[in-house]
């Protein structure tokens, strides 16, 4: 699975260059549009990569992203006025982390598809309970969120993204990554070879939720007003799955690629043609599942392999 597409030093150099460019970008006073667009793309990469950390190797399709994202958003809305921004993000991330620990401990014994249904149910359960609490008990609906300037949001999202990418890379390289992979291939065999599958799955699930929650707490500050339907929008559960599958989950760059393409497409299309955007979205999802089992990255690897085989045949 971990076939290197490009030469390693080239990749490290390229990544470093991109990072320097992204970090220095606000110094050139770009338009608000560029900053907001990049922030949105970063957000999708964070959501997608954190989904992939857990669901990629294990094969358990989690639809809980929107729940953790929403927990982050609500943390920001509740605490944003009283404590400082880094603390808010930390609380949002940790709240999601512990929610995921609880949910994981309860449900990761469930068979694959039941886990998916359960995690999706979680999103709507929290949404409905919160709505009931706000409307019936508090007689309000929604909350206002403290506004933060776009450059700060941009930097915070970039930091979350870099830390997440580094974490993903470390997990994939470590023996935990290997253990997760073996759970995805054959869970029983993994358990027999001495892996505590439940603990490993639960902790990885919680790590993935940590980043999703962090992303939610910073994104909330862009939206000034939120309510349970905005914060716990099931779309945020589906989008990361699609972006990951479209890009390819076998390689670290797959999700990044998928999220970047869709993040950009969304910004361009959604205001003008919202229905067609979602229509294209669904069509690509079906096509990707039918014809691109390895996603875009898988396709690129196949081409590369084809080239190599061709050269080999000629020599």
């Amino acid at each position: 699975m971990g076939r290197v597409i490009f030469h390693r030093s080239f990749v490290v150099g390229l990544l470093g260059l991109i990072l320097v460019l992204l970090v220095s970008l606000p110094l050139y006073h770009p338009s608000t549009y560029v900053l907001v667009l990049l922030t949105a793309i970063f957000m999708y990469i964070v959501l997608t990569l954190s989904w992939v950390i857990f669901s990629g190797p294990t094969g358990y399709i989690s639809l809980a992203s929107a729940a953790f994202f929403g927990v982050g958003i609500y943390t920001s809305a509740v605490f944003g006025k009283v404590i400082s921004l880094p603390l808010v993000i930390g609380i949002g991330a940790l709240a999601s982390f512990f929610l995921a620990l609880l949910v994981g401990a309860l449900t990761l014994r469930l068979r694959g598809i039941y886990f998916s249904i359960f995690t999706f149910g979680l999103v709507v359960l929290i949404q409905q309970l919160l709505l009931w609490w706000e409307v019936v008990k508090m007689h309000t609906r929604g909350r206002f969120v403290i506004v933060v300037n776009n450059t700060t949001i941009y930097y915070v999202m970039l930091i979350i993204l870099v830390v997440l990418m580094f974490t993903t890379y470390l997990i994939r390289r470590s023996k935990y990554g290997l253990a997760l992979q073996s759970i995805g291939e054959d869970e029983e065999a993994a358990a027999h070879s001495g892996i505590n599958t439940t603990v490993l799955k639960t902790i990885t699930f919680a790590i993935s939720a940590f980043f999703t929650g962090a992303a939610g707490s910073i994104m909330a500050t862009r939206w000034t007003y939120i309510d349970p339907y905005i914060a716990f929008n099931p779309l945020f559960s589906f989008l990361p799955v699609l972006m990951a599958i479209f890009g390819g989950i076998g390689h670290l760059f797959g999700p990044v690629l998928g999220a970047t393409i869709f993040g950009y497409l969304e910004e361009v299309l959604i205001t003008k043609f919202p229905y067609y955007y979602m229509l294209i979205f669904g069509t690509i999802l079906v096509i990707a599942i039918l014809y691109l089992p390895g996603g875009l990255v898988g396709l690129m690897q196949k081409w590369q392999k084809g080239d190599l085989a061709g050269q080999h045949g000629n020599s």
């Binding site: 068979r111 149910g121 979680l122 359960l125 979602m278 039918l290």
Partner: protein
């Protein structure tokens, strides 16, 4: 007090009829075909929109629409299975892998159907009035359309049950539900049977959509809520058990009606709560084998 109990029970049964129908449809698709069809509710939505469009444009009686909506949704479902899901089934290395990939493909179909409808008819909430007169039922008053809905739901459900129990195709479907591989070895054309099951599932969703549109308003995003109810009922009734889904529908309808009576804002949350509890405690379902 006796009056309230009667009221709650009857509204539960009325809702339960619809739930039973959509759950039977999903049970065919998931219980037999292993397609975790998250786009099930979209067929309900399509059925409801067709009925509304026929009624408002040509004044077609919704009960007549049943005869039109049924074949249309059946064909859509059948074609979708033949083009997408049968291909995925052949390509998937294991049944579990097929469940995952078919669920994701169904998500794609959900977005496609929903947004085609949005592009044609827009996001407005639609509705029409049909048989809205009150019927006195042992002291409790109900709209006539809801009673028509319930009786048609029961009739369709029973008709399908008889079809399953007494025809050769029904037997083939039941065999495929128990063990697709062995059924295939016994000479059942398994690909055709699974495609038919998916078509029948879509058909029942479409018919349920027509019935729903008689009592409730219709909009393009209504599908997912019904899908989730269908999933809950199918799990409640036990996977692959058609009678289980039928009775499970009525049970959930009653639960919903009771919760709505106690605390209206919490009915959806209660569904999920019960469902999640059920998943943890008894994943095989209450009536499951």
């Amino acid at each position: 007090m006796g009056m309230t109990v009667l009221n709650v029970v009857i509204s539960g049964l009325l809702m339960g009829g619809i739930y039973a129908l959509i759950a039977m449809g999903l049970s065919l698709q998931y219980g037999v075909g292993r397609v975790f069809n998250i786009s099930h509710g979209e067929f309900i939505m399509v059925g409801a929109f067709f009925t509304w469009a026929l009624f408002s444009a040509f004044g077609v009686n919704p009960l007549v629409s049943l005869v039109i909506v049924g074949p249309v949704t059946f064909i859509i479902g059948f074609v979708l299975y033949r083009t997408i899901f049968s291909r995925l089934r052949i390509k998937s290395p294991s049944p579990a892998a097929f469940e995952g990939s078919s669920m994701l493909a169904a998500f794609g179909i959900l977005f496609i159907i929903q947004n085609i409808v949005l592009a044609i008819w827009g996001a407005n909430i639609r509705g029409y009035t049909y048989l809205a007169t009150g019927v006195n039922f042992g002291g409790a008053v109900f709209a006539a359309n809801r009673l028509v809905t319930l009786s048609f739901a029961i009739m369709i459900g029973l008709a399908f049950y008889i079809f399953l129990a007494h025809t050769r195709l029904g037997k083939a479907i039941r065999a495929a539900a128990q063990d697709p591989v062995t059924a295939g070895l016994m000479g059942v054309n398994i690909n055709l049977v699974l495609a038919l099951c998916f078509g029948f599932g879509a058909l029942m969703a479409g018919l349920a959509g027509t019935l729903v549109s008689m009592c409730y308003s219709v909009d393009a995003t209504m599908g997912l809520g019904y899908t989730i109810i269908a999933i809950i009922v199918v799990v409640l009734g036990g996977l692959g058990s058609i009678p289980g889904s039928f009775f499970g529908g009525f049970i959930l309808g009653l639960i919903g009606s009771i919760v709505t009576y106690i605390e209206p804002g919490l009915s959806l949350a209660a569904y999920y709560g019960i469902f999640m509890l059920l998943l943890i405690v008894r994943p095989a379902g209450i009536l499951g084998r």
